[in-house]
């Protein structure tokens, strides 16, 4: 029988998914209003991965999400305020406003976050897993990246090294079918990126990345096993990003029909239906949770306004070490 969350975990998971969704909607609104500058890559539609991966890990396991990673950062422990403050470039931001959307890193929660260079964090994760193995820890490192990053040389070099040195590194490919505008069907030589593991003598699996219980139980099963017997694993989760690659994207490279099909497979709606069936939530309670999350994110956003930013002089302190 397929794995199912109990009531408490279902409610927590739903709250995480709604927080991820609402956070991204809020960021999008703020961009439209010119309240956030720069760029951002929103993860709406991929909430089952956000809420399914980090909660399945040990708190001392590291994650390295990619540039579309706000939801993962929240799931690992950062608050919406921590991240919104970073996007608003104020001192309270997780990276003191020095990193921004593409570089959310929060070491308090073992989140070594995102390089803006697609695919470059994959070997970094292998290095971290190697160091933890040297120290005799039973922890794993999970790095998240997209279908397009699997075309980087760093992906292939990293998988090879992880395999020969048997490090506990979970490579999580979030296959959302597009690398910016280019379909994976065109740019990736295989249908399932998971098969690329075969070249590196590595286990792999393909799962539905929109099924939060499946994501959670798969990550839990694999990482539990990796702790006992250190080795890498390539997990491919099929999913879809509802919005464009970044804020300037008009999505002319895909059809409205395709987008509608994937919205039918909304990870939040699918899990909500299951929760209602199981008697874990009512329509009314769901709406209440949604409203509470919205209020929480609005409050976090309001709290960022007018806050102090790091000065030029202080920024120099972060350039060199001694």
């Amino acid at each position: 029988m397929a794995f199912e969350f109990g009531k408490k975990q279902s409610l927590e998971t739903m709250k995480l998914m709604l927080t991820s969704r609402r956070f991204e909607e809020k960021v999008n609104e703020m961009f439209m209003q010119g309240l956030i500058h720069g760029t951002t890559h929103l993860g709406i539609g991929q909430e089952a991965l956000h809420a399914g991966v980090s909660p399945a890990l040990d708190k001392d396991d590291w994650i390295l999400p990619n540039h579309r990673g706000h939801g993962h950062c929240i799931a690992k422990g950062s608050t919406p305020y921590d991240i919104m403050a970073e996007l608003m470039a104020i001192r309270d931001g997780v990276c003191k406003g020095m990193g921004g959307s593409m570089h959310i890193i929060d070491t308090r929660y073992k989140n070594m976050g995102s390089s803006g260079i697609v695919g470059s964090a994959i070997p970094m994760a292998v290095g971290m897993a190697l160091q933890m193995k040297r120290e005799g820890r039973k922890n794993v490192v999970c790095t998240m990246f997209g279908d397009a990053a699997s075309n980087r040389g760093t992906f292939h070099e990293a998988l090879n090294m992880a395999s020969i040195w048997k490090v506990p590194s979970l490579f999580l490919c979030e296959n959302n079918l597009y690398g910016m505008s280019v379909p994976a069907k065109y740019s990736v030589s295989v249908e399932d990126i998971a098969v690329r593991a075969t070249s590196y003598n590595m286990e792999s699996r393909v799962i539905d990345g929109n099924d939060v219980e499946l994501v959670y139980s798969t990550v839990k099963e694999i990482t539990d096993s990796m702790r006992m017997n250190p080795r890498p694993f390539l997990l491919e989760a099929k999913t879809y990003r509802w919005l464009g690659h970044s804020k300037s994207d008009r999505r002319e490279y895909r059809t409205k029909e395709e987008e509608a099909e994937w919205k039918e497979r909304c990870p939040i709606s699918m899990f909500k239906d299951k929760m209602i069936d199981r008697g874990f939530i009512t329509e009314k309670a769901f709406e209440k949770m949604k409203a509470d999350v919205e209020a929480e994110i609005d409050a976090a956003t309001e709290a960022c306004k007018g806050k102090e930013r790091v000065s030029l002089n202080e920024a120099f302190d972060y350039v060199y070490s001694s």
Binding site: S115, M124, G127, Q131, M132, E157, M161, Y320
Partner: protein, 331 residues
Amino acid sequence: MAEITFLQAINEAMSEEMRANKNVVLIGEDIGIYGGCFGASRGMLEEFGTDQMLETPISEEGFMDLAMGASMIGMRPIVEIMFGDFSTLVSDGLINHAAKYKFMTGGQVEVPLVFRAPFGSGTGAAAQHSQSLETMFTNTPGLKIVYPATPYDAKGLLKSAIRDNGPVLFFENKLLYRAKGEVPEGDYTIEIGKADIKREGTDVSIITYSRMLPVCLEAAEQLAAEGISAEVVDLRSLKPLDTETIIKSVMKTSRALVVHEAPKFGGFAGEVVAAIMESEAFYHLDAPVARLGGKEMPVPYNPDIEKQIVPVIDDVKETVRKLVNNGGVKV
């Protein structure tokens, strides 16, 4: 004091630091039984084993990023690249990652990583195994860069680099590997960012680093016989640059020549010249500041041409003679 080679000095520095700290790990190609492409780690595998000697596949970008990741959670990697020319392959790890993670995270992480790369021509290895690529990295804030010329400086600076909590690029020159010099046994360090006056003089300051140091010292010796007193400043570190020592020396001598092996155009000498021109030393100059660097071509296999594309003793002497004649400028 014992005389050892530049290579032995590097071996000693790495070995002493690895003995003192198990988290100092040497990472690179053929560093194990083979002892490294040029022998810098010869004999070290026996003592340190595979835990501290990570011999890698040919995956330069991958193992640089790997080292970078590990360095943020406790490892202090020394990454050896076989030839400095392959710096192009690891530049993403250094420029986009190691140099920036402390900054981008608002100080949450440190990147205590050393990158060792052998540069330089003169070995007949042709265009892709002979370059001096230091200026690929000098314009990236966040990277410290050292480039020693003697075994004594190499050992002291490498130990400082390994103990530094940020990324340090440690550049070596292959033709200096066999050069011998006095090196004290045991622990000592040299501060990164301090130049060293290798020869005192009063008529001209020759400012140089790495393989051009012995060339400039020999030229200074020969010029002394002509009655010209040349001061030779060894930069040792390119970043931070010891502008104070440069300026002081030029104010004393009133003339300056900057010499390096890398191509002159866009070379590091331009930065040294600017440091002089932007300072009060400018008002002390008796002649335009001069530069000598490599010729504007890839390093050829043809050994006759290979010898002619880098500055030699006669080039230094001739340029200095012009400078003491006020650079040909009528005053």
